[in-house]
Amino acid sequence: MQIERLTKRFEPDAQPAVNNVSLAIDRQEFFALLGPSGCGKTTLLRLIAGFETADTGVIAIDGADMAGVPPYRRPVNIMFQNYALFPHMNVARNVGFGLRQERKPRGAVDARVVALLELVKMRALAARRPGQLSGGERQRVALARALAKEPKLLLLDEPLTALDRKLREEMRFELKHIHQRVGITFLMVTHDQEEAMSMASRLAVMNEGRIEQEGSPEHVYENPANRFVAGFLGAVNLFEGKVAGAEAGLLIVDSEAGRLAVAHSPLAAGTAVAVAIRPEKLRFMTARDTTTPNVLPGIVRTIAYRGEASTCQIELASGQLVRGTMSNGDGKAPVFLPGAALSLSFTPDAARLLQS
């Protein structure tokens, strides 16, 4: 699927809900669109499904321009944010709805419905009405219904948001597994960065109708293009400052937390930048250790125990609060308690330089 310079405004003088978006999604890819609430994700999906018309721009699926094609003729199916199951039909009839529109013979429809219900593990509940199902079960039915016509592209609008945490994590794997089995291109929209990163082969981060960055989850996480992406995709510590010069192949930045060295191509001295460092890349050292570069002395303020690791807030000498991750791995690493003095450090190539 190919989107080119797509723009949609709901009111003439309002800020566009979708702003000059270009996107290319390959066959059989699992692509995630990630962005905060209200950034235009649903609008983008509705444009692709044909429920809204774009002001400008092109949507093409398999090379065919979708302009003027009504929703019922697009090779696209959507799984709605609230599932939109037909309340007056049972599970099997919901799943078979799309196939019945094609006037397929009854036997063929029934066989396909059974296969789909098997795929989403809902065969036992085929005779129930949507009102008699749990949230997770409804979600499976909605998925089966959207897969029934084997669309070229399946659009999923926050498919897991309505589920509780444990079910959500199970369904992540299941959805990924189903994606591999059916071989259909998935375009999933979510505001949950963990969901996007764990499921998608590629993702795009959206903000205020625009796409800020696009790439593999690893690439976008490790190399965020700007402050918004860095902050939205995972946690980040930012040190605002100015470029002071270069030294031994490293860029030196004078920041609010002191002088920092970052592996980066040279920039003009005085350029305003932010040094971004992920919490898990900060090393915790006892206060005396000062042999490495980029050492930030501070005091532990709070510790949130999360099981596999603990998240700590450390107050630096400058007063800035920094987030760090302390592994609870083998019990050998030094353990700090609130109030303890320590030093944080990071290697020059663990940090990223953000200019916007």
């Binding site: 009504p70 019922y72 609230n82 037909f86 016509k149």
Partner: protein, 285 residues
């Protein structure tokens, strides 16, 4: 059931029992009395310590085919009017439910607005519109569309027009309430799965609005069967509706016992089609 809820329900029910059942009992009593030149114009139930009951009035109903014709006439008019209100009211209700919220209340107000004027006056207004030298004929003549006045009143047309006009709001309001609840996402889901607009209507919108249709049918059909003002004012001599006959028996012939027997027979006979229709509607809804 706890006592508070019981109290809440008991009071209105006591009211209903008192003011619905007691007139009914009185009407039953009159229906088994004989006509008499007296005030009131019927024989008392107890006379000289003896119970005085007759089935003559009911036998009269059975023997005179006029009453049967009027009964079927009422059912026929009411049924046709119900179908017409449904056909007119459904698109209307659907349209209102799909307009932007800020316009909806205005449109609903327009539906309810006629209730602010007396029903009788509104029916008289129709006479003014439809009579031979009325406004409609006058307008058509002066435009030159016709050269002799049309017979617009005192026939089936005017009775049905009056019934549809009077009962349309009772169809539109329950339909609107039902259609307004429908999630537009369901229509989109159906379109997304390949259903064309007309198929969406048959497979999604219509089945989901059946409860509203059922409510509308009951609200229009029941009072339309007993209607007497509209056939009396807009209908002609050939318009036979049971409500009108009943009215004539009471107020023109002063035959209270026959009129009461007619009222009771109508109640019993109406319970039949109503029960059937309710079962039918519950089946599909």
């Amino acid at each position: 059931m706890n006592t508070r809820r019981f109290g809440l329900i008991a009071l209105p029910y006591a009211w209903l029992v008192l003011f619905f059942l007691s007139p009914l009992v009185i009407v039953i009593k009159i229906s088994v009395a004989n006509e008499a030149v007296a005030i009131p114009p019927y024989t008392p139930l107890f006379e000289g310590g003896r119970l005085h009951v007759t089935d003559a009035n009911y036998l009269l109903l059975l023997s005179d085919s006029l009453y049967w014709k009027a009964y079927w006439g009422a059912i026929r008019y009411a049924a046709i009017a119900t179908i017409l209100t449904l056909l007119i009211g459904y698109p209307l209700a659907y349209g209102i439910a799909r307009t932007p919220v800020r316009w909806r209340n205005l449109l609903l107000m327009a539906i309810i607005l006629p209730f602010w004027t007396s029903f009788l006056i509104r029916v008289y207004a129709w006479i003014g519109l439809l009579k031979e030298n009325g406004i409609v004929n006058h307008a058509l003549l002066s435009v030159g569309l016709i050269d002799t006045p049309l017979r617009l009143i005192d026939n089936d047309f005017s009775v049905l027009l009056g019934l549809v006009y009077a009962y349309l709001p009772f169809m539109v309001l329950p339909l609107y309430a039902q259609l307004e609840k429908l999630d537009p996402a369901l229509n989109e889901a159906a379109a997304d799965l390949g259903a064309r607009p007309l198929h969406i209507f048959w497979q999604v919108t219509l089945p989901l609005s059946l409860p509203g249709i059922a409510a509308g049918i009951l609200l229009v059909f029941i009072p339309a069967v007993g209607e007497f003002v509209i056939p009396d004012l807009l209908g002609g001599p050939k318009t036979l509706m049971i409500g009108k006959i009943l009215w004539d028996e009471f107020f023109t012939n002063h035959d209270w016992p026959t009129a009461s027997a007619l009222a009771i027979a109508m109640l019993v006979l109406l319970a039949l089609p109503m029960g059937l229709m309710r079962r039918l509607l519950r089946g599909i809804a």
